[in-house]
Symmetry: C2
Subunit: 502 residues, 2 copies
Amino acid sequence: MTILAYEELQAKFERAALVDNAARTLAWDRRTLMPSGSGPTRAKIMSALRSVSVETLCDARVEALLDKAETDELANLTPWQAANLREMRRQWQHVAVVPPKLLNAIAELAGPTENEWERARRENDFPGFVEPLTKYLALQREASQIRGEAIGLTPYDALLDEHEPGMRCEILDPMFDDLAEFLPGLIKRVEAQQKTYRTLPLDGNFPENQQIELCNSLAKRIGFDFARGRIDQSVHPYTSNVPGDIRITTRFRTDDIREGVMATIHECGHAMYEAGLPSDWQFQPVGLARSGSLHESQALIFEMQAGRSGPFLRYLSHQLRQRFDKREPCWSDENVLRNYRRIGAGVNRVEADEVTYPLHIILRYRIERKLISGELNVVDLPEAWNAESRALLGIVPSTNAEGCLQDPHWVIGYIGYFPVYALGALTAAQLFAAARRAEPNLLPALAQGDFSLLRNWTHEHIHRWGSYPKTSEKIIERATGAPLSSAALRAHLTARYLTGSD
Amino acid sequence: MTILAYEELQAKFERAALVDNAARTLAWDRRTLMPSGSGPTRAKIMSALRSVSVETLCDARVEALLDKAETDELANLTPWQAANLREMRRQWQHVAVVPPKLLNAIAELAGPTENEWERARRENDFPGFVEPLTKYLALQREASQIRGEAIGLTPYDALLDEHEPGMRCEILDPMFDDLAEFLPGLIKRVEAQQKTYRTLPLDGNFPENQQIELCNSLAKRIGFDFARGRIDQSVHPYTSNVPGDIRITTRFRTDDIREGVMATIHECGHAMYEAGLPSDWQFQPVGLARSGSLHESQALIFEMQAGRSGPFLRYLSHQLRQRFDKREPCWSDENVLRNYRRIGAGVNRVEADEVTYPLHIILRYRIERKLISGELNVVDLPEAWNAESRALLGIVPSTNAEGCLQDPHWVIGYIGYFPVYALGALTAAQLFAAARRAEPNLLPALAQGDFSLLRNWTHEHIHRWGSYPKTSEKIIERATGAPLSSAALRAHLTARYLTGSD
């Protein structure tokens, strides 16, 4: 009945996770309050922590311990321990199969490539970026080939699998193709409808401290625990996931109230997932959030599904009128709702609305697949980008800076990550529909700013499971009674934007 | 001409230092803005980082590499590399000679003992603290014996040597005995003199934001670099020493202006030392500050020597009148100076003035030596404490909470550390006298709030040397032309407090 190999693995994976979490708090610090000149020494510190973590996982004994635990000890493990062992193998595989020399080469090139990208975007100089991106992608392709061979996947599926366990192009393609066919028509119809009435802008000045108060109050209603987390500001809102210390950042514009509120709700959704993970498995692989898309779905279920629902927008517009003492006609429930639901195809992903957003992702997915397979050369990237943009969104960016240079993902090693965003939207729609069926009072409660039914449902069906199920698909199927499909998102977008139901 | 062993050591020590520095930023975070409920997971993270750092230094190869570098490569090393190798051996010795089992036992008992101490102090329950302290000190004694045997020192000298390389009781005793004889008489005479005039309290309300502005302005004048550091607030002011990212904390009382200003100047002194260390040797042992007492001397040379000098106090009182719009008689130069120079024997170390402070240290030094040698049992600690207090300070604390339970040092593993504070005062006095001789305009410049002459002198003679000289004694002797003695502090205190010169 001994499980000595498993226990030794558990200690090693805990050590690596603790070091990763140290790095995560330092990354938060860097984005929020690190002095401007401290970058170079901080980079050295972060890189040392990453090395320690990788070396702990790739330590010569780990593979033998995994083999031994899987062969001799599996029968003695509890189901959660067995799932943890499965996740250990997974984590180990994604890191350990790539030769350290290649990993180091990628790490060394990452900084310079990102700098080149920043320069190229600033100066709209795609030609000058061809060589750096080509060199960097070549290394990433090599790593993805090695990973793919080790786990029996194509290179792109191997990249996808890292962020989204079990996800494959053959599962993605039908859903994405369906959206690519459905959404452009929907967008045209919604745009035509929205032209039939006037939406007044939400003019005004919104002092930062009052926005902070409003957002903190919303965060508390969602369930954010300020005793085990913080809310601060940074250029790009994000959530720092350290067990027991979850920090979200948001950003405010004093001339526009919309962004700060929704960025906060979005990050609170991420935070609720992290806070709800099984506390018995902190710092173990099985205690982690299941996947990138499931994480995104938790942000979107709060921000998009609940946060832009009619009942909640009515609660919010009341709050805005009260807190900022607004009485002008633009602050009517109806007009506030219209402001939060205005749609339109643009070239910018980050600024995209809920309806056009998936098309931005499908564009990137199609392009990055070809970059990894070798079908597309970097030099031909702008042409391919603009063609997809025309086909999917009906518009073409006027410069490469606004087009294929707009996102940092490819130069920070997030290749095969974009699909996560659209999968998150599909998942959020399907989960929210199930939650509404299970909790008929869910929507009415949002009219009082009461998120407790949604919070409890997501905790019960998503958060508390950590990575115990093998894929997010399993979690979704158990929670909603059906495999993930594009049906719920289609229904949701049609209902909200075309027929005007909540 | 190869120095392969040395280079491998350099990489290992850099790795350990980078991990230590990660822990240092996390410790700063814990003291300034970590959420209240995040303590337990943070403790696990910090403990993992400590283990990584210790294991990196104590890795099986390190001793052989040290031997090889010292035997075969010394002739090929530059003088700074050779000094670095010497410091590596020193660092390694203090950590590696103690069995990991004993180190772990100490680490495990540390938290609970500190909790017991907090409880005992709160409840004034010394009897209930006898057993926890006895157990904890027994482990610390065992470790100090092992260290002492390994480096040929008595257990207490081994403890001392960790914070203060090269320092021994036989060097300390004559200086401390001299102060113990000299100071009580001086205190009586100064107290008698101070009774002959009236010192008006510096009443008023001092809004925090205005205190922050004043302190930031003083910090800039001292030379604090806000692009590579921050100033925040915490319960106990301190300096977080991360190369390129030096963060000091201070604290403010809105009903008393004195503490915030002087705490800031004190920590700025520490920060100037760190910022001035040789940047070529960041993250290497030879690039570290030389010793605890030299560090304290840099805080005190700014806070006590310069900060309470007549010229600076006149600059400060002008600032206070201007910034807080004060016109009452208590805000005269003369009365502000008297406020900052008021002395009197008390039972509390932290609140002690410059003249009585060394006696608090001598008391603790005498007691902890006996605790480590075994001459004194914990159960007899209050009696011994009170007897020393009567002999040195002329007063006895009314409770153990205010007496032998007042400091955290012994329960957080800082045994053999107290002498550093008094050595720092001796050193600051001797260095400041030398700086004044070398720079006749140093004091007049302080009247304009200009610290540049002092900053340049300390950088030239102290900061930039890092740990290149083997001991702080060598640095002091080179900077002042004489070995450290009690003469300069005696002369300084007599001049400032009795004859009233600057």
